[in-house]
Symmetry: C2
Subunit: 433 residues, 2 copies
């Protein structure tokens, strides 16, 4: 009998417990030994309803970590303090660990994977990236036998919902965010999602898995969505693009890109068709070509589904049926690759410039771009929003390093007849690797 | 040293060999033992160029099957005669087997899985359904711990390409098919793809995996795309749908549906955004919700990528690192479920009826539908294509069994003022499980 302890009975913890009980038969058919959730811990354990009275409940998660009877710890507390102690102590105690804690892995992954390696323990974190999408399994197993060119993912449901609503309802960022909060798709303090940090945690994990590097979170470029305006969405739409918040990791000439930011996605790229709070991850490889995985990125049941998939693996690991999980902790950090500074990262750019309607201003702008060796692939000049106001000029450039664009923007912003706030957004090209 | 034999050096065989050689380091990092392709067999082996002169080449695949040194056989001959012998004899000889042969599994799967079970051998067939999409792994591992409501897949690239071209270029079936043949997306004799048999093989395999039933190929309802007209595509588009060729398997009240046919897919369902020859499989589950997996369904490199993913599993299976593959052969056929006759299968229907522009004809049609308890959710009457010709009337019904629709169509076709060819197409509803 395998005994399992769940630390943290929030939405995901409760749903995991419910899943394990409701689908006991299905899970049992995937393992060769009986199992049960024997212990649960939650700081507010008194307020939790437990229908199964055989489960031992405590408000101290470390009780579970120290209990020699428990062989699998499911950490669903979140955060990077208590959770770190629970996970590191569990691994030191040779327990198998499952977590949904992306922040913890992104920020302390190198230490955690080292411990998992040393203790020969199972460490499962499928739920930490894109909830029910089995991207960890797919990347480390199905796709790990060739060169991965790039991963581009819609990995924050809040950002996707807000941008999708801005696009569909032609509303501004603040209104869309309020709608999202009303529906429970954004937190009361949404800064972590909207600011891009959550997506940055996830893309760091994917980058480590794809390229076998240590967790690159500290070097990940992070930009959120709060500067996206309805005007950008409208102009992008006219040029054939949808604005999405995308996490990208890519290897080019042994240098790694790892970044999250708003991105213009061509409408004929399937990522542009990912709506509401859904997540999707597009992977390009040398042999399999282009694949995309779509599903629920959050929510109790979807996340619990990934936790339970890991649970089956952990049980089979403990029974010597499937030891393949070890490969992950043994491979992360084995390669040493430089992470590109965002100014080195090349892409096409969307530029929105507001200028006075006077002769010569377009010539001034295009001269500055030409001097930085930036060519213009598409340009459109729009009617001013009000009479006598500045005229919006929108451009798509060729693929150039961020530094070139920044230099050009600095110069354009100094022009007498141009507003000093030029907006730039990176563009995902359909044919780039 | 694990020795591998490849039977069949067509596109996929050549590409698999190339993949194994080119990405030897990546593959080697996923296994704990050295390996090599030691033997290849092809009926026309003389015409094949082998750059590695250490590989033993023969035109008799059974030489490989009988060779005690070879522990893994990769069958890429195709067909259901020689391939059946190769696979069954390999399993009897306790070799591990990998194949891309969907026809063989759909038609002889029960026998093959029984042999794999009895010989405790690895049997890998990831490449048999949707090429590079790791749907076999995902269904049998990540998603096997809960109730799968349904699987709906675009699993034949030829059909998808032809329908997509008909839609984009407003051309008819014959022209689109000729274009597909020119580009190599359709065979010289395309009947197997266009007629739905290939998709039926694949959906049968997915149905077995999801519902643990024996291969339901013989009871699978098969309908191809040759009766779809540009008019249907246009009318569907106006009603908010795209016509796709979809394979569906679904469990409802312990009865299984297994069918392939043209389907109206709502434009806000992500399946409708799968273009060209791409494949995509949408899975609905009780806990994970809706997931979708998209990628290349065919082509040498994409298929080889799945073969190589299986190869790593087979090597790890042989080294006792990952025995989870056994679960598949042990689970298929363990449940006994009736497959619904297509006339029992409920769905919404699209009906296209051509009628004379005379008073009362609409009343006659709607009375017939009402008598069969079919209600109309949307209706549109179009201008006749030429003066005095029949008027097309298009309807979307509520969800009813196929039998009701067939009865109604029989009666409508007998009406004096109605053309005797009523076209019906099933509709995939967004909110159905």
């Amino acid at each position: 009998m395998i005994k399992i302890g769940i630390c943290g009975l929030g939405t995901v913890g409760q749903s995991s417990l419910e899943h394990i009980i409701k689908f006991k038969n299905e899970i049992r058919s995937n393992v060769n030994v009986d199992f049960e959730v024997s212990h649960v811990a939650d700081l507010a354990i008194e307020s939790k309803k437990l229908t199964n009275h055989n489960i031992i409940a405590t408000n101290n998660a470390m009780d579970l970590v120290k209990d020699p009877e428990i062989s699998i710890i499911i950490e669903l507390i979140g955060g990077t303090t208590a959770a770190l102690e629970i996970i590191t102590e569990s691994l030191k105690n040779k327990k198998h660990v499952i977590t949904a804690n992306k922040a913890l892995i992104a920020e302390h992954g190198n230490e955690i994977f080292k411990l998992a390696r040393e203790s020969n323990s199972f460490f499962g974190f499928e739920a930490s990236v894109a909830g029910a999408i089995p991207i960890v399994k797919v990347l480390t197993q199905s796709m790990s036998n060739e060169k991965i060119f790039s991963i581009s993912g819609i990995i924050n449901g809040t950002c996707n919902y807000v941008l999708d609503q801005m696009s569909n309802k032609k509303i501004n960022f603040e209104t869309a965010l309020k709608d999202a909060q009303k529906l429970g798709y954004a937190e009361a303090d949404p800064s972590f999602d909207i600011g891009g940090n959550d997506a940055a945690h996830k893309i760091s994990i994917l980058s480590s898995l794809a390229y076998k590097i240590g967790l690159p979170y500290k070097e990940t470029y992070i930009e959120g969505i709060k500067n996206i305006t309805p005007m950008d969405i409208k102009f992008a739409d006219e040029l054939g693009y949808t604005i999405k918040h995308i996490g990208v990791t890519r290897e080019l000439d042994k240098l790694i890109e790892c970044r999250v930011h708003p991105t213009l996605v061509p409408k004929n790229n399937i990522l542009s068709q990912v709506h509401n709070v859904m997540n999707a991850i597009l992977v390009k490889g040398e042999r399999f070509g282009t694949s995309m995985f779509y599903g629920h990125g959050a929510g109790g049941d979807a996340t619990a589904s990934a936790i339970v998939a890991n649970l089956v693996e952990a049980i089979n690991f403990s029974q010597e049926i499937d030891k393949s999980n070890l490969k992950i902790s043994h491979s992360i950090g084995t390669l040493n690759r430089k992470i590109k500074n965002i100014e080195q990262v090349e892409s096409s750019f969307y530029l929105r410039i507001h200028a006075k309607d006077v002769p010569g201003v377009m010539a001034e702008i295009t001269n500055i771009l030409a001097n930085e060796k930036i060519s213009i692939e598409a340009v459109s000049q729009h009617e001013p929003e009000e009479t006598d106001s500045l005229i919006p000029i929108v451009m798509i450039t060729n693929s150039v390093p961020g530094l070139c664009i920044n230099k050009a923007i600095d110069k354009i912003q100094l022009l007498k007849n141009v507003d000093d706030k030029v907006n730039s957004i990176r563009v995902l090209k359909l044919n780039e690797k």
